[in-house]
């Protein structure tokens, strides 16, 4: 595989992603869920006064950005893999002289690019339209946000690919991944900024991989992460990246021997 062939595949997958306008609209609309959490936290902020360490502006900035970041870093690869395995489409991916990991990665990148094309300009427009929504970003911090979003996305793809590969043994991996995803919703900073979680849970969220794709870039974006904390967050991301790379390569090698190439 070459970088050129990977880029060509991303181009094709992007073309697939833009094919259905209704699907794009539904996905964009599904981005509003973090804003429901914002409504909850704003009412908490009103009643708790100074006891809440986050300001109203920080909460608004966090959850508006969460609506975008959650779409850019999530991965639905495990479900796609499950469907491909049952339909026989996985066999065609295995027959191409390009590792299926990169084929699925291209698919995810294509879709996220389309989402980014809608959501990022919408967020920028919202900052102009609403005074309460502001980000005081330095170029360095802006760059760090982009880097952490990319790292979070790649880690999520790798994790979902690892779960997908385990489907060589069990047909229930998509359901197991849903459980993982549910746990991640709580520990990633989706339900609450991780800083506001109870201490033991907060420590767990800092050490586990979930925060890498959500809380870490958002904390940096709203200015709630020091340079040391950001570095630590990136090191945790790198650690889990290594862990899942190891797990994926092991599972892949062993799993291929179990593949039954059903449906066709």
């Amino acid at each position: 595989m070459t970088a050129r062939s990977f880029l060509a595949l991303i181009k094709t997958e992007t073309a697939v992603a833009v094919e259905y306008r209704t699907r794009i609209l539904i996905w964009v609309l599904s981005s509003v869920f973090p804003l429901l959490m914002l409504a909850v936290w704003l009412s908490v902020e009103q009643t708790s006064g100074d006891r809440l360490p986050w300001s109203r502006g920080e909460l608004i900035g966090y959850y508006f950005a969460a609506a975008v970041v959650s779409q850019l870093t999530s991965s639905f690869l495990t479900w796609a893999w499950d469907e491909d395995m049952r339909s026989g489409a996985l066999s065609f991916r295995l027959l191409r002289p390009m590792h299926p990991f990169f084929q699925y990665l291209a698919r995810e990148v294509g879709f996220r690019l389309v989402m980014a094309g809608f959501l990022v300009p919408s967020l920028v427009a919202a900052t102009f339209a609403w005074d309460d929504l502001t980000y005081s970003l330095t170029p360095a911090r802006g760059l760090l946000v982009i880097v952490t979003v990319l790292c979070g996305f790649l880690l999520n793809v790798l994790i979902s690919m690892t779960f997908a590969t385990a489907a060589f043994w069990s047909t229930q991996m998509a359901n197991l991944y849903s459980l993982w995803w549910g746990a991640g919703a709580f520990l990633s900073g989706w339900i609450a900024p991780t800083e506001l979680l109870p201490a033991p849970v907060r420590v767990a969220s800092y050490l586990l991989p979930f925060r890498s794709s959500m809380g870490l870039p958002l904390d940096i974006l709203v200015g709630r992460s020091t340079a040391a904390q950001s570095t630590a967050g990136l090191l945790v991301t790198a650690f889990w990246f290594l862990v899942f790379t190891w797990a994926f390569t092991r599972l892949w090698r062993a799993g291929l021997r179990h593949y039954q190439a059903v449906s066709g």
């Binding site: 070459t2 062939s5 094709t12 489409a89 066999s91 190439a261």
Partner: protein, 362 residues
Amino acid sequence: MSFLGRSLAGQFVTRMDVALEARYSSAEGDRGCQDLHPVITVDGLVKHFRVHRREAGMRAGLRGLVHREYALVRAVDGISFRVAAGEVVGFLGPNGAGKTTTLKCLAGLLYPDAGALDVAGFRPFERDQDFLGTITFVMGQRNQLYWDLPAMETFHANREIYRIPRSDFEATLDVVVNLLEIGPYLDRPVRNLSLGERMRCELAAGLLHRPRVLFLDEPTLGLDVTAQAAVRRFISHYSHDYSATVLLTSHYMADITALAQRVLVIDHGVLRHDGDLAALVAQRAPIRQITVTLTGDVDDRALARFGNVVNRSKLSAVIEVPRDSISAVASQMLTALPVSDVSIADPPIEEVIDRLFTERDG
């Protein structure tokens, strides 16, 4: 050299081609040396599957929660064969005989439980990228094309994935589009194509990288006769012009008789025949059929004297006669009956194959 060959000869030499050219140069140049240079070698291939077994009904379903029963399916049970460069081999057998499983092992999709496989100098299951660029596996009614995009988008994606130089790609595409007559469909989303149109585009997508080994699993399944003929014509052209090695399964005997010089008959995972089609018919059909056209009415009993009458109308009859007495019987009929025309043929190949498997079941 044919149109296909003339258009592309000398133009499309990829890294894989060079490697294969060196590896099989004598097989290319001299068909007489084919046996020395098999492109496909299968030696004692075994592939078994452990499948969950469960009776119908709620009680069986609940029992399955605590105790699962499994059965061993011997999909392929120790088959061996070789295929030389440029050979087109038909793979015959009833459903579940092990044909597709064998093809999947050869394409590197399935890991064999036992046996040795070699395809174009590669061990398929290692899934070397050069190996994957050397083969194609077309599965009837299975889709490798991007469903939501015009087929042309898949072709371009494949150009990059298989690293086909642009000029070679365009030359191959031109030929493939003409032979398969898919020009009018290339700008329509695949989901809007008919099965026949889509299948032809599938073939094109599978062959743009000019594979040297083709695994075709029911490539004409569900197609109308026109589309079937177009696909057959194309496979024939392709295999001839590039000495491509083809292993083909089909339930349409017309595909096998039109394309394959040799057939492998597999049943219950065991190879039951390996040889040319005519030999199979001679071996498995000890009778031939004489079709006579009569100029006047003839009594049934008069016809029955010559053999087993399997079809009868007022002025014609089809009579089965033992193979070794066919000449004598035909001669006697010409003198004894008011005959205007006689033709002798083997029974339809479908009947021969059916007889082969029915004998086994009996």
